[in-house]
């Protein structure tokens, strides 16, 4: 529950940065924050704590029975998914920063208010 609260707060901080900040770099930082918060939540989901048992990373050292495998290892699926979404987040952040740089080259400002040319 604590984890859920922390990551929701982080998501809201990121959303606040995206909505209120007018600087494009700060918007990109807000996105990175949101992305990491969701990844954090997602990765934590995999660790289901079974009482009296140690949490082991999901690497198969020796073959065990099915029941043993399912109860003692932490779930590998969220970790794989988070790795994928980190890659996606990298692409998004890189593209957003290069777009911001391109806009700066054309207009001379990172401020979203100063480049407002589209309307309607």
């Amino acid at each position: 529950m604590l984890i859920l609260g922390i990551s929701l707060v982080l998501i809201l901080i990121g959303l606040y940065a995206i909505i209120t900040k007018r600087n494009m770099i700060k918007v990109a930082v807000g996105f990175a924050l949101m992305e990491y918060a969701v990844n954090f939540l997602f990765a934590i989901i995999g660790f289901h704590k079974v009482p009296g048992m140690k949490i082991i990373p999901p690497i198969l050292m020796e073959v065990k029975t099915t029941a043993n495998v399912l109860s003692s290892y932490s779930d590998p699926v969220p970790q794989a998914l988070v790795l994928t979404s980190i890659v996606i987040g990298l692409g998004v952040t890189a593209f957003m920063l290069s777009l911001a740089l391109r806009i700066y080259n054309r207009i001379g400002s990172f401020d979203l208010d100063e480049i407002k040319r589209l309307k309607g």
Partner: protein, 149 residues
């Protein structure tokens, strides 16, 4: 960019090679230990970026780097796809599928030569990620502030 102070240059010269080799290790052992193509490729790219930051580059070098890294990136992607498609194509008579293991009974479990076509995919991803990270860096770093009032 004209490079940094001699201290940085000396340390970077010593460390960059180790970082590169460590990245290759992470890529090659991806099927046995945590890591793999993406993490290893990122470390390889970090080694390359470190030496570029320390020593600086000319505009011509930047241009050639961006061309070669885009070629490496594409060929990494093609290699990865080739491993997948070979799994579909080689096993004819309907037995093959996308990403089918090419060498099912090859090597010994737990050693470097094992796990079928997973190491091949890891190497392909490592090439692609390393080149992509480098080209992202080059593009962001070589964007000069050309704006004039």
């Amino acid at each position: 960019m004209s490079g940094m102070t001699p201290i940085v240059k000396v340390i970077a010269r010593t460390v960059a090679g180790f970082i590169f080799v460590y990245g290759c290790y992470i890529i090659l052992y991806g099927h046995l230990s945590p890591g793999g193509g993406f993490a290893g490729g990122a470390i390889v790219a970090a080694g390359l970026i470190l030496s570029r930051l320390a020593f600086g580059t000319s505009a011509a070098q930047e241009r050639s780097t961006s061309i070669s890294s885009s070629i490496f990136e594409s060929s990494g992607g093609i290699l990865f796809l080739l491993v997948a498609v070979l799994g579909l194509v080689i096993f004819a008579q309907g037995a093959g599928f996308f990403f089918k293991n090419l060498f099912p009974e090859f090597g010994k479990g737990g050693t470097l030569v094992s796990a079928g076509s997973i190491p091949l995919s890891n190497i392909a991803i490592g090439i692609k990620v390393g080149a992509a990270m480098l080209s992202i860096f080059v593009v962001l770093a070589s964007t000069k502030y050309i704006f004039k009032e």
